[in-house]
């Protein structure tokens, strides 16, 4: 998906540096394909064709080949081997790899500049949301009528699994990726991330992992749901290996990105940027990174065990060999619930930041907001077993996990207080970000309240595994996190492109998506209440009307999102010029020129107060 950017100046020929300077996305894909084919060939020679696991062994070797080839092709291994041999990059090399005056080509390279990585994350997120969107529409089209007319059950089951995982991937990186990379370093007064090369590695590992994840559709699909529960995943075909390998690489990429982000915020703040003066969005990214650092290794081990089970016949999740699928459920959900807060907190933090600027008022009780985010992250690590209330794993743990899960409603309650408190008695500037923020407030409340029903064990015994749960987390993911991500995009779009995101189209798309969500997931709540199980390709006549209404709502959301996508693409080059500080904000990213120079600041700024003093005249460079 290339954005149409006109070159600004002639791209100077790379001076020397040999092959390493010519590596880009093209050589990465070429390397990936070649090594994947080599892996495929090697595996067919190496392994015994008669064993049950032969097709899985070949698939895993193919995936390993793709990964290594992609990393070699993009140039990820250049620096480690140059380190090994003792000849480090010269200052000129570092500048070249940071994308110094290379025009648009640097977006297709292993570029280390955090602003380039930020834009790359925007593109990857939109690509993933696109793929997830296609699958979502296919699912809803299938569910118009009770029978299985559009697709048969097996294809439908693959759709729900890949739709789930692709959308989770997209939303994990939707706010922390683009804005944690593009904007956060400038906000704290840093020249770049702590480990620039590591930043590029995280982005490109996500691209290669996402390719494998979407690739499962081409190798027989993954008809087991995104939770890939051990027992039913045994029956999955080769697609399961592609899925597991994609997750193994994705979790490493996210853990490493978390290390990078936390180190940047702790050690690279400019003089005077004390913790009290940090913009609230920076707090959000740090808390999220810490939570991700703790949670994702569990997912890595859960999927590594699954790969071993399928290729070497170990028995982690196989009852006959002494294993149990509850182990996989535990490892998965130990990551599963922290993951959904890794998705939520950056969106909320971005909205806090936007609310101050759009209300011309400081954030309401800044320390309570930070405290709420930190306690939410802490709590989220001890609630995972509410996903297993009805699994029969540990009925006696139902009580304790009900307690921890229901305590979550206190920090999330504080989010509402801070948001409404900030806007209260402010002069609220109804621009595009603010519109999406009010949509967030409406949806997040419904999502939050329905969460309380599911946290109550007796109620969960009626609602678990029904469309009620699906509607609950779509109100949070689509209704709250996606609205927060779009608000953040509309807010920081002028800093990335120097132009406003088209307000007129933005509002049209807001109303379409907002109304579409109420229809789609409102009706889904009713299907769930009536007792329609999740992941059903077909349903009994009792659920016909509510599903039909849901599908109509889904088509409305689709139209709204397409208009938003059109607005983004056209506004990137033809939007109304906005200047360096269109919202007259005080945080550092608005005080540097647009386009932002390579090292962000000519002279490192000295910060004297937090960015929420709107009553003083803003000195903008």
């Amino acid at each position: 998906m290339t954005t149409t950017l006109e070159p600004t100046e002639s791209v100077t020929q790379p001076r020397g540096g040999g092959l390493a300077r010519r590596q880009n996305f093209g050589t990465a894909v070429a390397g990936g394909v070649i090594f994947a084919f080599l892996g495929w060939l090697l595996a067919r020679k190496l392994f015994y064709t008669g064993s049950d696991n032969f097709s899985d062994q070949v698939a895993v070797m193919t995936c390993v080949g793709w990964m290594i080839g992609f990393w070699i092709g993009i140039g990820a291994f250049n620096a480690p081997f140059k380190w090994l041999l003792g000849n480090d990059n010269s200052r000129d090399d570092d500048l070249y790899y940071a994308g110094h005056n290379q025009g648009r080509a640097r977006y297709w390279k292993y570029t280390t500049d955090h602003k380039v990585v930020g834009v790359q994350y925007i593109i990857v997120t939109m690509g993933l949301l696109g793929v997830g969107g296609i699958l979502a529409m296919a699912i809803r089209t299938e569910l118009i009528t009770p029978g299985t007319h559009f697709v048969n059950q097996q294809v439908y089951n693959s759709f729900i699994a890949i739709h789930g995982m692709v959308m989770i991937l997209a939303l994990i990186v939707a706010v922390a990726g683009p804005w944690g990379n593009f904007v956060m370093p400038i906000m704290i007064g840093a020249r770049d991330m702590a480990f620039p090369r590591l930043n590029a590695l995280s982005l490109w590992s996500l691209v290669s992992a996402a390719t494998l994840l979407v690739g499962t559709l081409a190798v027989g699909g993954l008809p087991v749901g995104w939770v890939v529960l051990g027992t039913v995943a045994d029956q999955a075909g080769v697609g399961m290996d592609f899925f597991a390998m994609a997750i193994v690489v994705f979790t490493v990429s996210t853990t490493v990105a978390s290390v990078n982000l936390i180190t940047t915020v702790i050690s690279m703040r400019t003089k005077g940027m004390t913790l009290d003066r940090l913009p609230i969005f920076v707090w959000g990214t740090v808390v999220t990174a810490a939570l991700a650092l703790y949670a994702f290794p569990f997912f890595f081990i859960a999927e590594a065990n699954q790969i071993l089970d399928r290729t070497v016949s170990t028995s982690f999740y196989v009852a006959t060999g002494g294993g149990t699928s509850w182990l996989q459920a535990n490892l998965f959900w130990l990551m599963g619930h922290p993951e959904v807060y890794v998705i939520l907190i950056p969106a909320v933090a971005a909205l806090f930041e936007i609310s101050t600027v759009m209300a011309r008022k400081p954030l309401f009780s800044y320390r309570t907001a930070v405290g709420a985010m930190v306690s939410l992250a802490g709590l989220s690590a001890v609630v995972w077993a509410h996903h297993m209330f009805t699994s029969g794993w540990a009925p006696s743990l139902g009580g304790p996990f009900m307690v921890t899960t229901e305590l979550i409603s206190i920090p999330t309650g504080i989010f509402f207080l801070v948001l409404i408190g900030t806007l209260w008695r402010g002069s609220v500037w109804m621009r595009l970000p603010t519109v999406w923020m009010f949509g967030f407030i409406f949806n997040f409340l419904i999502g939050g309240v329905t969460g309380i029903y599911l946290s109550d064990v007796p109620l969960d015994e009626q609602l678990h595994g029904t469309m009620f749960v699906t509607a609950h987390f779509h109100y949070i993911f689509v209704g709250s996190v996606l609205f927060g991500a779009i608000a953040a995009l509309a807010y920081w779009f002028p800093k990335v492109t120097g132009r406003y995101l088209n307000e007129f189209l933005g509002r049209i798309s807001f109303w379409l998506v907002f109304i579409g969500i109420q229809i789609t997931f409102g009706a889904m709540f009713l299907s769930g209440l009536k007792g329609m199980p999740r992941r059903d390709a077909s349903y009994s006549l009792a659920f016909e009307h509510t599903n039909f209404i849901s599908t109509i709502g889904a088509y409305i959301i689709m139209i709204g999102m397409l208009i938003l996508f059109g607005a983004i693409v056209t506004s990137w080059r033809h939007g109304e010029p906005s200047g360096p500080n269109p919202w007259h904000a005080n945080s550092l990213e608005w005080l540097v020129p647009t386009p932002v120079p390579l090292e962000n600041f000519d002279v490192m700024p000295v910060v004297t107060e937090d960015p929420y003093h709107f009553d003083k005249e803003i000195v903008s460079s």
Binding site: Q153, V232, T368, V403, L423, S427, V428, L445, K530, P533
Partner: protein, 243 residues
């Protein structure tokens, strides 16, 4: 120093009252209109819990929505260009404390009610419940009555007698869910999990699989009948004896 004078809160309280009222009406009507017919003690408990929690949530939701509406009505900047700076309020400890205590009280109430319901659900095991062995196998539920060697794909239950389901699976994890009785537990291969409930209403009920179990998961349903104890014993006798 620009100040935005305090607007009267009557509109806010009106909105709060109206939305709360609408919320309460919906929370009473919606569950009863849409939730499946409750045919066991657990299902009645689930229905009341659903209604109660919704009624508790109504004022909280109404408060936030009324607040948002109040902001949109009174504090929206309608001029051109950048709005003037508002009053730089940073803290309002009184509001924060009331908000924290209110949400804490609500959470404790929800917790106490939930733990109480959970305890009552687990405690009502009568001396000799009717034991039904439930076997989930890819895409058929089969029920066997151990006392009388009868196997059937339809679940007959006598009224007002506690039943204990001992649930297992032959292949993958299924989710044994008696829709109208408000109880469910997963059927795991290699282990037996139990749940129990007491049917208290005659009629037809549904059993559905709520844990994804492969190709025909959507079709893995069964039909159940709550019948009078006499009709149950005669049905049991009429069934072919399993070897």
């Amino acid at each position: 120093m620009a100040t935005s004078e305090k607007k009267s809160l009557t509109g806010f309280f009106w909105a709060w009252g109206i939305i709360t009222a609408v919320g309460v009406v919906l929370s009473i009507w919606l569950p009863q209109r849409y939730m499946p017919e409750a045919m066991s003690n657990d299902a009645h408990l689930t229905m009341t819990t659903m209604i109660l929690f919704s009624i508790c949530a109504a004022p909280v939701a109404a408060g936030v929505y009324a607040g948002a509406l109040h902001i949109l009505r009174n504090y929206r900047y309608r001029g051109e260009g950048v709005p003037p700076a508002a009053e730089q309020i940073r803290e309002h400890t009184k509001l924060l404390v009331t908000w924290l205590t209110a949400s804490a009280i609500l959470t404790v109430f929800v917790l106490v009610w939930g733990l109480g319901a959970l305890a009552s659900e687990n405690s009502n095991t009568s001396s000799n419940p009717l034991v039904v062995d439930v076997t989930g196998q890819q895409w058929i539920w089969s029920f066997s009555y151990p006392g009388s060697h009868v196997q059937s794909n339809e679940l007959y239950l006598p009224e007002n007698r506690e039943v204990e389901f001992r649930v297992t699976s032959e292949d993958v994890t299924h989710g044994f869910w008696v829709v109208n009785m408000g109880v469910q537990v997963d059927a795991n291969p290699g282990t037996i999990t139990t749940i129990h409930t007491t049917p208290d209403k005659l009629g037809v009920f549904e059993v559905r699989c709520e844990q994804f179990c492969g190709l025909n998961h959507a079709f893995m349903d069964a039909v159940g009948y709550v019948v009078t104890p006499q009709k149950f014993t005669s049905w049991l006798a009429a069934q072919p004896q399993q070897s």
